[in-house]
């Protein structure tokens, strides 16, 4: 399959303060590169402040990067005129985390579903049929067309959000924590729906989540982010090489009391993106930290085919150490 999305050296900084306070620079996304093949599901996982939502918005060019390029289907987005960019947007859509705030409360479901056509200046053949077929596609009854958001459950609202994203037949759908505000039983429905739609419509997903368990279940390839940088790129079935990914995995609560472990030893919390340490950003929490880590920023290096980690002391490189690490953890 061909590459649908190529991201190269993407960075975004936000500056703060200025007039009365000292200007501070926040590094939201730093030097991110990856490719997403047509038809693939790429997961982006990390904790709050790791830059995953900023990355989503950069990829869709809802915000401009400080550095780096995003190529969509071979076209560098920075080279496009406003009009061309708007037309390109038909092919890339975003599904938001919070379906409650993503839909205007004064719009009926019908209005919300027709909004993309209005914005893009595309006229659907028959509005009633379009609305009915979009609702049908996401498993909602067409009688809901006249409902307003407050009359819908969270799951129904998220289905409307997905239907709206699919209205203009996009190739790429960026899903920003699409199930984080839903109940588990509803989350499973939405994940099944996304899987079905991907197969039926040949969609490509960039799936953003804080839930490594869900990402490992749903995605082909996973990017793990920490403080704006990719720390690991791995096939979803692989054992983690970066200690941070290992810690994330050890922090997820497996629904099996037989596999109980003393939960985690990862101390501390994520430092602020304002003053990043010179070396590895994870150094202050890492069980394998050495002086090298505090001084030199590790770069992504290949661990196995399709598997890269940005770590001076990766877990799988030295098997004995990896085993010891696991028994400690």
């Amino acid at each position: 399959m061909s590459d649908l999305l190529t991201v190269n050296g993407l960075s975004r900084r936000f500056s703060d303060g200025g007039l009365f306070r000292k200007r501070k620079v926040f590094h939201a996304v730093s030097d991110v590169s990856f490719t997403l093949k047509q038809g693939e599901i790429l997961g982006v996982v990390g904790e709050s402040g790791c830059g995953k939502s900023t990355l989503a918005r950069l990829v869709l060019r809802l915000i401009n990067p400080s550095e780096g390029q995003v190529q969509f289907d071979g076209v560098d987005m920075a080279s496009l005129s406003r009009g061309d960019m708007r037309r390109l947007r038909q092919r890339m859509q975003l599904v938001f985390q919070d379906p409650y705030s993503a839909i205007d409360p004064r719009y009926s479901v019908r209005d919300a579903l027709l909004e993309p056509y209005r914005v893009q200046g595309v006229k659907p053949k028959s509005t009633d049929e379009t609305v009915a077929s979009l609702l049908d596609m996401v498993g909602l009854n067409s009688s809901l067309a006249q409902s307003y958001p407050h009359q819908l459950s969270g799951g129904q609202k998220q289905r409307v959000g997905i239907a709206r994203a699919l209205a203009l037949n996009p190739s790429l759908v960026v899903l920003d924590e699409p199930t984080a505000s839903l109940d588990v039983s509803v989350q499973a429905q939405i994940v099944a729906l996304l899987e079905r739609l991907r197969q039926e419509l040949g969609l490509t997903y960039l799936f953003i989540s804080h839930d490594l368990g869900l990402v490992r279940y749903f995605c082909d390839q996973i990017l793990v982010m920490y403080l704006g940088r990719i720390v690991e790129v791995m096939p979803s079935g692989a054992a983690p090489a970066h200690p941070y990914t290992r810690a994330l995995l050890d922090s997820t609560f497996e629904p099996d009391p037989k596999r109980r472990r003393s939960i985690t030893r990862l101390a501390g919390e994520i430092p602020s993106g304002y003053d990043l340490p010179p070396g590895c950003a994870f150094a202050n929490r890492c069980p394998r930290v050495t002086d090298l880590c505090r001084q030199v920023l590790p770069t992504l290096t290949s661990q196995a085919s399709g598997h890269q980690a940005a770590c001076h002391h990766p877990l799988t490189a030295v098997p004995e150490l990896a085993v010891e690490q696991r028994s400690v953890a």
Partner: protein, 317 residues
């Protein structure tokens, strides 16, 4: 038993969003109450804390026995002595418990001064000790900070320290980690588990996360639409879930060893309190529904083992 709820019914006007809730927790034991939104798990906690009247509700039937005393109908004065003292609550959002205008330390001191009658300096010493126990770095400086100067995980630790300051015997943690990052969530759950084990606290852990239940709890009450549908030891619950809702809930958690597309979902949605179906409340979503389920509400029958299930089909099996 430290706490024993029997056939609790909570009423708000014409609605009974919680009914026939039976569960118990002993000292040193961790009981998980698990359910989706609208299952009544937080209302149950509110009832135990005696705070229902503040939100316009009341206990309409049943008993809440704490260390032998029925809390239902206990005068507010006596309830106030227990609340924050022998019974403490930790909520999902630490800022509901913290006063943003007040320094951290004195907020922790309050419970010890009020419930244990400690002097200002004794309370301070105790607070610093609790903060150190909860692995809050540099307690003496954190003591003088304001809440906004702390991260979410640190605030939740402060709230736990506040809950412990009154020397509670029963601790109710209502979704204590939902607002936190995964790695921090694991730290907080570990702290709560250690507290129950080391101090012999009875801990009620309210959560929607079956993973937290599996990793932390001894016993579990599964709630659906205001009722306990299954009560069991944690191992039994995951190995042989009896209620179709419990079975479905366990199956819809993603696990890495599942192939994509094999995770099953529960069809339909949780009905609102005003639109409860007749009969078993799970029947419209249940894969094993029988005619009887549509008319007759199954009762939770708790056996001598303390385990039970409220399901016509599971009981027949």
């Amino acid at each position: 038993m430290l706490l024993d709820l029997e056939m609790l019914r909570i009423r708000f006007g014409a609605f009974s969003p919680v009914d026939q809730v039976t569960l118990s927790v002993d000292r040193g034991q961790i009981l998980g109450i698990v359910g989706e939104s609208g299952s009544g798990k937080s209302l149950t906690a509110t009832a135990i804390m005696g705070l229902l009247p503040r939100i316009g509700g009341q206990v309409a039937a049943g008993t809440i026995r704490f260390d032998g005393t029925d809390l239902v109908g206990l005068p507010e004065r006596e309830m106030r002595r227990l609340r924050g003292g022998r019974i403490a609550l930790i909520t999902q959002n630490p800022m509901t418990s913290l006063d943003s205008m007040m320094r951290i330390g004195p907020q922790i001191d309050q419970a010890a001064r009020l419930h244990l009658g400690l002097s200002r300096s004794a309370a301070r010493a105790r607070s610093l000790e609790l903060m150190a126990d909860l692995r809050i770095p540099d307690p003496a400086s954190v003591y003088d900070l304001f809440p906004h100067q702390l991260s979410g995980g640190m605030k939740q630790r402060i709230v736990i320290a506040m809950a412990l300051a009154g020397d509670p015997e029963l601790l109710i943690a209502d979704e204590p980690t939902t607002a936190l990052d995964v790695t921090v969530q694991a730290q907080i759950v570990q702290i709560l588990v250690d507290l129950a084990r080391q101090r012999g606290l009875g801990l009620i852990l309210i959560t929607h996360d079956m993973g937290v239940v599996a990793q932390a709890c001894d016993r579990v009450a599964v709630m659906y639409c205001g009722r306990v549908v299954e009560l069991a030891e944690v191992d039994a619950l995951f190995e042989h879930p009896r209620h179709p809702y419990t079975q479905a809930l366990i199956r819809c958690i993603p696990r890495h060893d599942m192939a994509r597309g094999t995770m099953s979902a529960i069809p339909g949605i949780v009905p609102s309190a005003a639109a409860q179906p007749p009969g078993c409340r799970f029947n419209p979503r249940c894969a094993r529904v029988a005619d009887r389920c549509r008319v007759e509400i199954p009762e939770l029958r708790v056996g001598a083992s303390g385990n039970g299930v409220a399901c016509h089909v599971a009981e027949a099996a």
